[in-house]
């Protein structure tokens, strides 16, 4: 059953056509990776799926519910969560406060205004668990703008995980992470239960090939190719536009 369905989406930025007739099907439980040259429109597609940007034409449905045209926070209501390519954090809050906000977003009590935050113990516990799991527990009281870039990237990922989504959209989660953190993140993605569906944009081929069930290549705003990892790896045209033919910089996993 397809969880996320993108049908014939068009998007242009005042005149510049960025997405042309993009259709995409992501099955529940699938690990789907989106690759493509810089500027192919991957991030834009994410924006369109989550409602961050309105789409010109086309339909996006999650689990049969249309979410295109609705405000972006509704995407979270249907179980979608995303990260940003460019860090988009609460720079002046601490790591912990960042997480609290993210976790509370999906709690029924997010509108309550009569009980102090710290009395919602479930929330505090969830945050603690996540922080410990990701080695950020010691940094919990650190204000975000004092974190190193890589640490911020990690937090970016945690904010998306915090809402316990069914469908997780990750925009270059490992960029800016050191190999160690990259490996950790990769392991996390591999070990996630299949109840969580992943759609990932990634330029690190090690990561791509170690998680992907299916890969879609976007080029000039169009779906260039979509298929199993082996198919993509072997494709000459993809090599030309994306992988590059020269020296094999990448050790293949």
């Amino acid at each position: 059953m397809s969880l996320l369905k993108v049908e014939r989406v068009h998007k242009s930025y005042n005149g510049l056509q960025v997405l042309k007739n993009v259709s995409l099907d992501v099955q529940a439980g699938e690990r789907h990776v989106l690759i493509g040259p810089n500027g192919a429109g991957k991030t834009t597609l994410f924006h369109c799926m989550t409602g961050t940007l309105p789409i010109d034409e086309g339909v996006v449905t999650v689990n049969g519910r249309q979410i295109s045209g609705l405000p972006p926070y509704t995407a979270v209501r249907v179980g979608m969560a995303r990260t940003f390519q460019k860090n988009n954090l609460f720079d002046n809050l601490t790591v912990e406060e960042n997480l609290h906000l993210a976790i509370a977003a999906c709690k029924p009590y997010r509108f309550h205004f009569f009980k102090p935050f710290y009395k919602y113990t479930d929330l505090l516990e969830e945050a603690e668990q996540l922080l410990k799991q990701w080695d950020l527990w010691e940094r919990r009281a650190c204000v975000v703008n004092q974190l190193s870039y890589g640490e911020q990237r990690l937090l970016e990922l945690l904010l998306a995980l915090a809402s316990k989504p069914r469908l997780l959209l990750l925009d270059e989660p490992t960029s800016g992470m050191s190999p160690a953190e990259t490996a950790q993140t990769t392991r996390l993605m591999q070990s996630m239960p299949r109840s969580i569906t992943l759609l990932v944009i990634e330029h690190d081929m090690d990561v791509v090939f170690s998680i992907a069930d299916r890969i879609t290549v976007l080029h000039h705003g169009e779906v260039f190719l979509s298929g199993a990892p082996e198919e993509i790896r072997g494709d000459e045209r993809v090599k030309e536009i994306y992988f590059g033919g020269g020296a094999p910089l990448y050790a293949e996993a």
Binding site: T52, F84, L89, H100, A105, F111, F114, K115, F117
Partner: protein, 333 residues
């Protein structure tokens, strides 16, 4: 809550309640006025410091509260009803204007709220038949919550003090609640809040309306207190003063704006009766506050505090500035 915190709160409330013991009759009156204005400034501090909505038209809601009492008291004399009417009217106007304006931000929000306030000012000024026009209107209704009319200064002081404390603790609870935290998150990074699944518009609208209601409440009390209202209560100059009080007290704190109100009103009152050159002195004070106190009395206090602390701890290097908003607020939860 920690023990010391509880003690602090008890001391705070007790101090407010015992203040009349050391005040002269005039001091009592002035302090009551300061408390009412502090409530208003606190409501502005709420949207500025916690939601990032810098308004230059907040006096509109204060004025609406005051005018509601003044106008309706000609027909109704139940104080409860009048207060509720004032709060509700201010809240409704805040909600509706918020619906229109909240998508603007920064300087644009500042100016559109200024314009809105000025429109209301113009209305109050021009509709002489209803509002008394530029000459204002006397309010003859006395304050009566059902335990007899409150006429004495002392009694009214307690009304103002109780109202102030109630507002303060209400906001404290609000700010530490999930809703309040959400509002602060929006100030920090609205786009991320949206992506996390918050309906940021609704949050902003809620806090804006709440703030308008509180301003309206303060305005209603002010009408009782002063027994006279005039369009000046709606004018942007008053909004501007309130804005300055918020900054003077300390943006991003709850008590800061209230302290700013007291600081501003009392200081200006006394300096201006000693010298005609009071604007220079006030101006210099503001400049110094920015240069040495990060713009707020409360921030200044926290700087001094952390300085003292770090002196005690030897071997420590220069102290880091406290981050905005988490400054000295010993009453913080």
């Amino acid at each position: 809550m920690k023990k010391e915190t509880v003690a602090l709160h008890v001391a705070f409330v007790a101090a407010t309640m015992l203040l009349p013991l050391i005040l002269t009759s005039y001091g009592l009156k002035l302090t009551s006025e300061v408390l009412i204005i502090a409530m208003f400034v606190m409501s502005l501090g709420l949207i500025i410091g916690f939601a990032g909505l810098v308004s230059l038209g907040h006096a509109a809601f204060f004025g609406i509260g005051a005018y509601t009492v003044a106008l309706i008291s000609e027909h109704v004399d139940n104080t409860w009803l009048l207060l509720i009417a004032a709060v509700v009217t201010a809240g409704i106007v805040a909600f509706l204007s918020g619906l229109m304006f909240i998508r603007s931000s920064g300087a644009y929000f500042l100016m559109i709220t200024l314009a809105f306030g000025q429109m209301l000012y113009a209305i109050a000024y021009k509709m002489e038949g209803v509002t008394g026009g530029a000459d204002g209107k006397a309010v003859s209704e006395s304050f009566n919550l059902g335990f007899g009319a409150i006429e004495s200064r002392l009694a009214f002081y307690y009304v103002a003090a109780a109202a102030f404390l109630a507002c303060y603790y209400l906001l404290r609870v609000f700010l530490s609640s999930p809703l309040g935290k959400g509002v602060r998150g929006i100030k920090e990074n609205e786009s991320r809040m949206t992506a996390l699944g918050y309906n940021t518009h609704l949050y902003k609208l809620t806090v804006y309306s709440l703030s308008g209601m509180m301003a309206g409440f303060a305005g209603a009390l002010y009408a009782y207190f002063n027994q006279y209202i005039s369009p000046d209560l709606l004018h942007w100059m008053f909004s501007g003063q309130a804005l300055i009080m918020v900054i003077v007290g300390g943006v991003g704190t709850l008590l800061g704006p209230a302290i700013g109100a007291g600081f501003f009103v009392i200081l200006q009152n006394y300096i201006s009766s000693y010298t005609e050159r009071w604007p220079i002195i006030m101006g210099l004070l503001f400049v110094c506050l920015v240069l040495y106190g990060r713009g707020g009395v409360i921030h200044l206090a926290s700087l001094v505090w952390s300085h003292l602390q770090s002196k005690r701890r030897t071997g420590r290097e220069k102290s880091v500035l406290p981050k905005e908003g988490s400054g000295f607020e010993s009453l913080k939860g």
